[in-house]
């Protein structure tokens, strides 16, 4: 018997898509039954109370979670997010309901032992509810109480050898696409770079010293499966420099209809016979491909490596051999100063472990941003306020035409004093000798 009546939420159990309400209810029933005879360390009925408070929100159309509350584990500034209900009398099971972020393995592969161990901890010491995963990428354990935080941290680190993720004004848990583990498009080992940098920057991850959050994300190619260049302050996106590799026989197989274009992604509708001219050659953004009926050629110098032709013929076309990545900086969501997309900073880096070249750029950006950034200012906003040139200057990267979509259209150019012959100190007396007042 459910603890609270939830007439509105019950309506979210119908329909085909997996119902989170049904799932929370099944957890509530499981906890009520307690088949393992656990001595639950936080209230047994917390999933019931979570449904109760959510039903209240559905009735009033307002949230019932309080703002803030500083909790955490000793020595860390991130990884735990304090959460308190503003109706604690009615819903005592979720009066305190803190979130813990757990560092996920990059690419999010798991074995069942790891997951079951995590479930066991969260059964005993938490609500039994999670987010798999949070928007930043980590495993999110949803709902526990303050006195359990150190216990959970102890069990995570001692028994599972895994750490908390980031929250607050620090490096957030980095995230990578699955890359070379299962994708032929990956231009570098995204998971390895993600893992390596996560390990190297544990201090930045756990002890907030930044003006605001900072995110790394790693995409293996310009398809951008983890949206690195849209939602990370520092995006590493795989690319290549040389020719796209072409298997002409396979191209013919696509043209002849022996292989389905785009790996079969359009199989749900009859789009007619594959037309290489219309679907590939004419859609190439830089018009750098030619098909003469027998041979496909690509003018590499004009290719912008958009992936369209490769996606369209994955068996015939392949990324080049001179592989690496581009780095884009400054993407963010609207808060505070409007949404920003990442801007290209390094056209190409080679991505060899231990990634010292990448780290060098990161650290220069951090030094500058920590010095100049205002409270709650993302690095993208600092760039906007102090200019992209400033970012080039602090990272010592020479300006190239790759850095812009187009050159500036206003001539309000800031010159440095040393860039102008004679400097800025001028002789008014001498001037007045030439020009009367």
């Amino acid at each position: 018997m459910a603890k609270h009546a939830t007439p509105q939420l019950d309506q979210l159990e119908s329909g085909p898509w997996p119902s989170f309400v049904s799932d929370i209810k099944q957890e509530a029933a499981m906890r009520a039954k307690n088949p393992k005879g656990l001595d639950y360390q936080i209230p047994q009925d917390c999933p019931d109370d979570l449904l109760g408070v959510l039903e209240l929100s559905y009735a009033e159309k307002e949230t019932h979670w309080k703002h803030g509350g500083i909790v955490g584990v000793f020595g860390y500034g991130g990884g735990v997010i304090g959460r308190y209900c503003d109706q604690p009398e009615q819903f005592s099971g979720v009066a305190h309901f803190h979130t813990m972020r757990v560092a996920q393995p990059s690419g999010k592969y798991y074995n069942t032992k790891f997951l079951r161990d995590l479930c066991d901890i969260w059964d005993l010491r938490g609500s039994g509810l999670t987010n798999m995963h949070g928007s930043t990428g980590d495993i999110v354990l949803l709902g526990t109480q303050t006195h359990q935080l150190e216990e959970i941290f102890f069990e995570l680190t001692h028994n599972m050898h895994v750490d908390l993720g980031g929250s607050g004004s620090n490096l957030r848990t980095p995230e990578a696409c699955l890359g070379q583990s299962r994708c032929e498009y990956a231009c570098y080992n995204t998971q390895d770079m993600c893992y390596q940098l996560t390990q190297d920057y544990q201090d930045e991850l756990h002890r907030p010293a930044f003006p605001y959050k900072f995110k790394f994300k790693f995409d293996g190619c310009p398809n951008g499966c983890v949206c690195a260049m849209a939602r990370s302050d520092f995006a590493v996106v795989g690319t290549w420099k040389d020719d796209i590799k072409i298997d002409q026989d396979k191209v013919k197989a696509y043209v002849g209809g022996a292989i389905r274009p785009n790996a079969g992604a359009h199989a749900g509708r009859d789009w007619g016979k594959f037309d290489i001219q219309a679907e590939m050659i004419d859609r190439c953004p830089s018009r750098c491909m030619k098909w003469d009926g027998a041979k496909l050629s690509i003018k590499t110098a004009d290719c912008v490596r958009c992936m369209h032709c490769i996606n369209t013929m994955p068996q015939a076309l392949r990324i080049g051999d001179e592989r690496g990545a581009s780095i884009l900086v400054g993407a963010k969501a609207p808060v505070v100063d409007g949404a920003q997309m990442g801007s290209l900073l390094m056209p190409f880096i080679s991505c060899e472990a231990p990634y010292d070249d990448v780290k060098e750029v990161i650290e220069k950006i951090w030094d500058w941003w920590m010095e100049e950034g205002k409270n709650r200012e993302r690095v993208g906003e600092t760039m906007k306020r102090l200019s992209f040139q400033k970012l080039l200057e602090v990272t010592k990267i020479p300006a190239t035409a790759c850095h812009v979509k187009e050159p500036r259209s206003n001539p309000y150019i800031f010159f440095k004093e040393e860039e102008v012959p004679g400097g800025w100190q001028r002789d008014l007396v001498a001037y007045r000798k030439r020009h009367q007042r």
């Binding site: 079951r116 216990e151 849209a230």
Partner: protein, 381 residues
């Protein structure tokens, strides 16, 4: 309830303390076929909606079955996923960026059994537990944020509207009839934890009323200068007010300047902003992150406000479904929603979809606004 110690000693918090060990190494949990072929994959094919086949240089194959998942997931549900992975996949599984779950096997017969098994399981309430789909030119799982389930600033719920939208477009999760992939995301406030600003369709919770001011608590709960500095439109200023006969330090908000972003509330709990009548959802379309063919771009607001209508959110779901259908009927193969809208022009987008263009859709936030106004006589009547 008896307190059970993990071994942690609060008297000596530093004793045996382990810190800064980070995540497990990624390849610890690779299924053997993945471990063997790292960096050696040759090509892939989508065999049917939700089923991928990757072929390695040496001829090895891995079949991936992808299922939709709720982001908010219980441990009972995770344990069920583990049971399936133990039975079929040697104990390995993975999650995708869009909260789908993937199971991998190495032969086609096992894939079919696994697929049928996953598709057969249902919750007591009737919904699927592990629907197979979400690949190619279809509609994948929605990324979303916390909403009323767990966050303090939402203007709408997250899991609820997501459930309803996914119900409405469920057929397209299991099919690939779209011109190109359609990515949908929901953020319950403009903080946008979920990168909504670059999805083909983004649903964003918005407030429409300036914050209330809790003079009784302002000075005790807030760093007032932080709240002042947080406001992007300089609507917040410090003042002294009479409260219960006493002069107290507090905050004033110039209401006509406020755009209800909630930044000040994030800095100062004495400025609550959520409101049952005022809050709701804006619909944005045409964003993308991929560099394929055209450049990545932000989504654009095409519906300025839809009221919160729990529990089934009918106006929202109908509008999303309608946009998807008009796009599917009109766009060219490979053309993302935003590329289609740009090709036909936004005038035509509004005409075809029948969505009403109102003054709310003209940008008025700082410099970026100017770049969105039309500086040409080329337009469509």
């Amino acid at each position: 309830m008896v307190f059970i110690s993990s071994g942690y000693n609060p008297e000596k918090p530093m004793e045996n303390r382990i810190t800064d060990i980070g995540p497990h190494k990624y390849d610890e949990y690779f299924p053997p076929v993945i471990k063997k072929n790292l960096g050696k994959w040759l090509y892939h094919e989508i065999l049917e909606p939700g089923v991928l086949m990757h072929v390695a240089e040496n001829g090895d194959k891995v079949y991936t079955v992808r299922v939709g998942g709720t982001r908010t997931m219980s441990i009972t549900h995770i344990r069920e996923l583990c049971d399936i992975a133990d039975q079929y996949c040697g104990g390995y599984l993975r999650w995708t960026t869009r909260n789908n779950v993937e199971f991998m096997v190495t032969n086609e017969a096992a894939m079919k059994k696994l697929r049928d098994e996953l598709d057969s399981r249902k919750f007591e309430g009737g919904s699927y537990k592990f629907p197979v789909g979400g690949t190619g030119a279809g509609i994948s799982n929605m990324v979303h944020t916390q909403g009323w389930v767990h966050c303090h600033t939402p203007a709408t719920d997250a899991s609820g509207p997501v459930k309803c939208v996914m119900d409405a477009i469920f057929d397209d999760f299991k099919n690939m009839r779209m011109p190109a992939p359609v990515r949908i995301a929901l953020a319950c406030c403009i903080n946008m934890c979920g990168a909504v600003h670059c999805s083909d369709i983004g649903l964003v919770g918005i407030h429409r009323k300036p914050p209330m001011i809790d003079h009784q608590w302002a000075d005790q709960l807030c760093e007032i200068p932080l709240a002042v500095a947080a406001c992007p439109t300089a609507a917040v200023r410090p003042i002294k007010v009479e409260y219960n006969g006493e002069k107290v330090n507090s905050i004033a908000v110039k209401q006509e300047r406020c755009m209800y972003c909630g930044n000040c509330y994030t800095m100062c709990p004495a400025l609550p902003i959520s409101d049952g009548e005022g809050d709701g959802i804006a619909i944005m379309v045409g964003g993308k992150v991929s560099n394929r063919i055209s450049m990545p771009k932000f989504s654009k607001v095409v519906v300025g406000y839809i009221p919160n209508e729990p529990p089934r959110w009918p106006t929202l779901t109908n509008t999303v479904k309608h946009i998807v259908e008009v796009y599917a009927a009109n766009a060219r193969k490979y053309e993302r929603l935003g590329d289609w809208a740009e090709r036909i022009g936004w005038e035509s987008f509004f005409k075809l979809t029948g969505l009403e263009f109102t003054h709310h859709l003209i940008d008025d936030f700082r410099d970026p606004a100017y770049y969105t106004w039309r500086q040409s006589t080329q337009f469509k009547f």
